[in-house]
């Protein structure tokens, strides 16, 4: 039979699948926020005086990220940045959700669109082959976010990636046999040419993150991106989701195992010095063209 919150006895709305701790809405929120704060501290993500550009899509993860960052007592300025990829029937609603959230938090949202950075919407870029949607979208979104963050004088970029995303990335590198990435930098920002990226939700599961959004009534019903069916990691995500259900803690084990592996390997400095500048746009890259320019050349 159901029992109440471990702290106050009220009706529980969340159980941590690993520790079996039970929480009412209020104590779950406090626990979740403390988890984010401790990840920020553990990985020294934020220093006093930082100007943090927060990638805000208006979706679940980034909505929770910005809300929690605004709530934590951080000695840093938050500058939300919303990228409009130009996805018909989807983006307008999420942008509206992003703007509403910023109004509520008293923050000014900076909008940047794919049209601003390359003259075309994602829909236009994909007219020939929608199957590449997510890789094109991801590469150009990174570029747009970097550019906008530099324009507003940000010192760091925060994104809503959570533990599930991290675990999926680790696993995908193994599945591709990509040893460079398996042994590469992880949760560090060795390259000073890029704005450092931080992921304050990196130790929170997707389930906790969405539960936080629901408990605090932050989420509205939003349409799904029409390209979701082409998402690269769908299979990995589904498999990991099943494992996480039958063996809670699997994703945390994958991510902490990866950290231990990298700690054993030690720093590998040689790789950083190979960075040069993109011939077309000047972004840091180890090739002649950066990923975004190479992609745009190919799509021409």
């Amino acid at each position: 039979m159901t029992t109440g919150c471990g702290s106050c006895g009220k009706k529980a709305v969340y159980v941590d699948p690993v520790t079996k701790q039970r929480f009412c809405g209020e104590h779950f929120s406090a626990w979740f926020e403390a988890g984010v704060a401790s990840a920020i501290e553990k990985y020294r993500m934020i220093e006093p005086g930082d100007r943090i550009a927060v990638g805000l899509s208006g979706g679940k993860d980034s909505t929770v990220l910005l809300t929690v960052l605004a709530k934590l007592d951080l000695d840093a300025e938050l500058i939300p940045i919303t990228v409009d990829e130009g996805i018909g029937g989807y983006r307008d609603d999420t942008i509206l959700a992003a703007t509403r959230l910023c109004d509520k938090l008293g923050l000014a949202d900076k909008l940047v669109s794919f049209t601003d950075i390359c003259g075309k919407t994602l829909d236009e870029l994909l007219s020939n082959d929608p199957r590449q949607a997510c890789s094109v979208c991801g590469t150009l979104r990174r570029r747009a976010l970097n550019q906008a963050a530099r324009e507003v004088g940000a010192t760091k970029i925060a994104t809503g990636h959570c533990l599930d995303d991290e675990a999926q990335s680790v696993l995908m590198n193994y599945l591709r046999g990509d040893v460079t990435r398996v042994t590469g930098s992880f949760q560090t920002n060795a390259d000073t040419l890029f704005l450092p990226r931080i992921k304050p939700l990196c130790r929170s599961t997707e389930r906790e993150t969405v539960a936080y959004g629901l408990v605090n009534h932050l989420l509205t019903d939003l349409p799904e991106c029409p390209y979701t069916k082409y998402a690269l990691r769908a299979g990995v995500r589904r498999g990991l989701g099943k494992l996480e259900y039958t063996t809670p803690g699997t994703m945390m084990n994958i991510v902490t195992g990866q950290e231990k592996l990298l700690a054993k390997l030690g720093p590998r400095e040689g790789e950083i010095t190979m960075m040069g500048r993109c011939e077309l746009c000047g972004e840091p890259t180890s090739h002649r063209l950066c990923a975004a320019c190479a992609l745009l050349e190919k799509l021409k």
Binding site: V15, P17, G59, K60, E206, L214, E224, Y227, G241, K242
Partner: protein
């Protein structure tokens, strides 16, 4: 019958049970789905009665 509204607009129906039993019966992964009743999150072992109306939120996103 229990009614479960999925995020994509689909509506599924089944018999009473605990939330976990219901999700498994409907072939949904309980890790990937959060369910609310009258706006309140339900736990896996919470009982769900015939006539209850549930809303599912998927934790999954694209990209």
């Amino acid at each position: 019958m229990v009614t479960l509204h999925l995020p994509d607009g689909q509506i599924l129906t089944t018999h009473a049970g605990t939330l976990e039993e219901i999700l498994l019966r409907l072939d949904l992964n309980p890790y990937e789905i959060l369910v609310t009743r009258d706006g309140e999150l339900l736990l896996a072992d919470d009982p769900v009665d015939e006539d209850d109306v549930l809303r599912a939120t998927s934790i999954v996103h694209g990209g």
